[in-house]
Symmetry: C2
Subunit: 494 residues, 2 copies
Amino acid sequence: MKIRCLPIDTYPENTAFLLRGGGDFAPEQFQAMRKLAIGDGQKSILAALAIVDDKRLLAPGEIGLGEQAFRRLGLAEGSKVTVRQAQPPHSLEFVRRKIDGDTLEDAEIGEVIRDIAAYRYSPMEIAAFLVACAGFMTTQETFALTRAMADVGSRLHWPPGPIVDKHCIGGIPGNRTSMIVVPIVAAHGLVMPKTSSRAITSPSGTADTMEVLASVDLSATELKEVVDRAHGALAWGGRVNLSPADDILISVERPLRIDTFDQLVASILSKKVAAGSTHLLIDIPVGPSAKVRSQSEAVRLRKLFEYVGGKLGLTLDIVFTDGSQPVGRGVGPVLEARDVMAVLRNDPAAPADLREHALMLAGRVLEFDPALEGGTGLGRARALLDSGQALAAMEKIIDAQGRRTVAIEVGALLHDIRAGHHGSVAAIDCHLIARIARAAGAPMDKGAGIDLMRKVGDRILQGDILYRIHAESPAGLAFARELAEASPAYTVAS
Amino acid sequence: MKIRCLPIDTYPENTAFLLRGGGDFAPEQFQAMRKLAIGDGQKSILAALAIVDDKRLLAPGEIGLGEQAFRRLGLAEGSKVTVRQAQPPHSLEFVRRKIDGDTLEDAEIGEVIRDIAAYRYSPMEIAAFLVACAGFMTTQETFALTRAMADVGSRLHWPPGPIVDKHCIGGIPGNRTSMIVVPIVAAHGLVMPKTSSRAITSPSGTADTMEVLASVDLSATELKEVVDRAHGALAWGGRVNLSPADDILISVERPLRIDTFDQLVASILSKKVAAGSTHLLIDIPVGPSAKVRSQSEAVRLRKLFEYVGGKLGLTLDIVFTDGSQPVGRGVGPVLEARDVMAVLRNDPAAPADLREHALMLAGRVLEFDPALEGGTGLGRARALLDSGQALAAMEKIIDAQGRRTVAIEVGALLHDIRAGHHGSVAAIDCHLIARIARAAGAPMDKGAGIDLMRKVGDRILQGDILYRIHAESPAGLAFARELAEASPAYTVAS
């Protein structure tokens, strides 16, 4: 059959389209199997089947491919391909055994992950694997999963010496410390090639916020050039294809809200190993609306990081931080970038909590430097920030990555949420703040988000602005406003 | 937005199509959520989102619906609808708790099942529920699941008195006993309104085979009329909408090959309760390539049937039968119908194993008749068959359901699989026979399938025909032949 690209983008699964009754075989023959293998002998993909009833979309003898499937197959339009019922991947047998409660061998987990990374699993099959793993997983299995994920996709190689990194397990809006830590550490001279994700369910990822200032869409070669010039980088990880299985697993974990510690550890450490990191600081915020809600959970997570990280040869430092409320003021790409630059410029109006949090983390990363006297990391970090060396390092990184020439402004459509009575702010719900900022349009609309005018402990009078919603579209403003009015994210104690 | 039906059939999930950048909001805003709620205030559906890049498919302000989604929404083309991000069903919280290892309350399981039946779950979410249940389920949960499934959809009501049924848990090709048992039991005078499924992964379901002889696509009213006239029926269950959640669960269980006893029991008993059965014979074939592989497994399954069936108020009889090889000769709709009619006509060439197996089952169903003396069921069944009363009852059922006027012939394209050496047939792999028959085109091509010329224990000479493949299309013949030559389903001991 000949392939034809149909102007339809389906996500996350590949889709192929067959004309009803238009080929050598009835599409119904495939219906029970639902998945097709399409290829020319060299390249091949699996795709879910949709049946088309209109000859204007497809001619007999043609197989349609959605845009994603067409891109992944990588053949020219009109190429001849063979179309077969897809054999289910052999590794699904291991998934079935995992469902039955078995412990899998390292090699078996490796085969599952390679098949997932090759898009051979449907979301349904990935969900089955993840839920079976959520039921029960040994630490050895978590280690095998992590290593298998790191082994799939690209790997970055660096010159000898510590390659440092930091990772925050997230969930705290506005907590954009990496953009302060990296320039401090780079100014000191350690190599910190940080790759970050874009937001999936949060209002901004580090890559989204950095993109307000500079290009983040770097190839592996470009990333190396940036690090050569500036010691550090703040790039989007997607382009360099580190642990691609992780991205696929996440696309199923998020809608199902599967957030086991096993998957969390495998996700983070596989990306770091693939990125060539040797020393890693992990920031675990603990708080009632954070990912980790108690000290005992945090300790359990720390131990799992230590076990798996240790077997992978990583040097880990793990820090528990205050995850009780958002950090900084801005939530959303432009607003967060504003806060970050204010800290780096030593602007007196810069959010003090963001500054102190970033300094503490930078100090601990600096302690990875064998040349630094133990206990002096924080002082060194503060000196690099206060002296403007961190700002200079950031400007160097921005220039190396490609400075954005036209500034992006904060969203011009505003709505203020005000206090209904006086008192003091008792709590701010991180989840709700994130959801409202997303409803406003963040991270797609970079200027959309929330500016927090009050933090926990602040005294307020009735009518004071608690936070301001910024949006770029009337629909975004309306969505966010509706949500904010239905479920106030602030608890005010009178 | 206005709905437009796109000539695309997606399965099993509903799909909605939005033009990239063509509405009030960017489709990217939806991408993280992926699921849309579409409705006019009265009717609504959930659908997965695909993005279209061609204004010939969709105009701005239009939302496209695949054929299935359009049908399920049930509004006219051009109807105005509102489109929102779908809120995940509340019952997904229960699924998450089940993933975490909790035991769910009856009401919680009920909510999950109602949401699944309303197409509010994606296949990924259904897989999560099924795998979480596969990990651990109490018998009370299995009972609650069964009852919830029976309570969703239609229910058939019958006059007082025993409403008998039989069910084989399947996996044995050619085992078309229902089409012999029902006419025997109907000839006796018991009411046996049997509804059956079409094949999903097997080469033929009872509904597919019966359809060779008569219409099976009956509404509830038509089914009642048939039973009024003929005491029995052999109808397709799909039209009467019994336990629709079962069909949706099965569409995910099959590709994942989740075949826990809990799901099996819930699937079978929910359909029977919804069909109004009071007395049920369950046939559990036990064999190395059957669904149940050992006597101890069979006992465990029997106990679960007894527990759940008992709480549902069903009278159950459970029989273990020989599942070591296919039953009868034909595999595929036309070939199986031929065998069934040969047995009913007392044709000396009729497969003896099918005849004896059906008589034994019919005898046990007849024992449900309180008026029959204990132990006389088998004799009564034999008498009804030998006398031609069962055949007459079958003709009555066929006429009542609507006799097929043009006979369907067996597939004219043939390929014989012959013995490579002499010896005797030691084993026949039920799975492989089923796969080869499906590859030949069964059940879609009703004349396609396999005619088994030799059974276990038969002496054979080199070159003897072991089985004959029938197909209606050259592609089907080639698929089946390729599969048969790659993996012979017969083991011949010399």
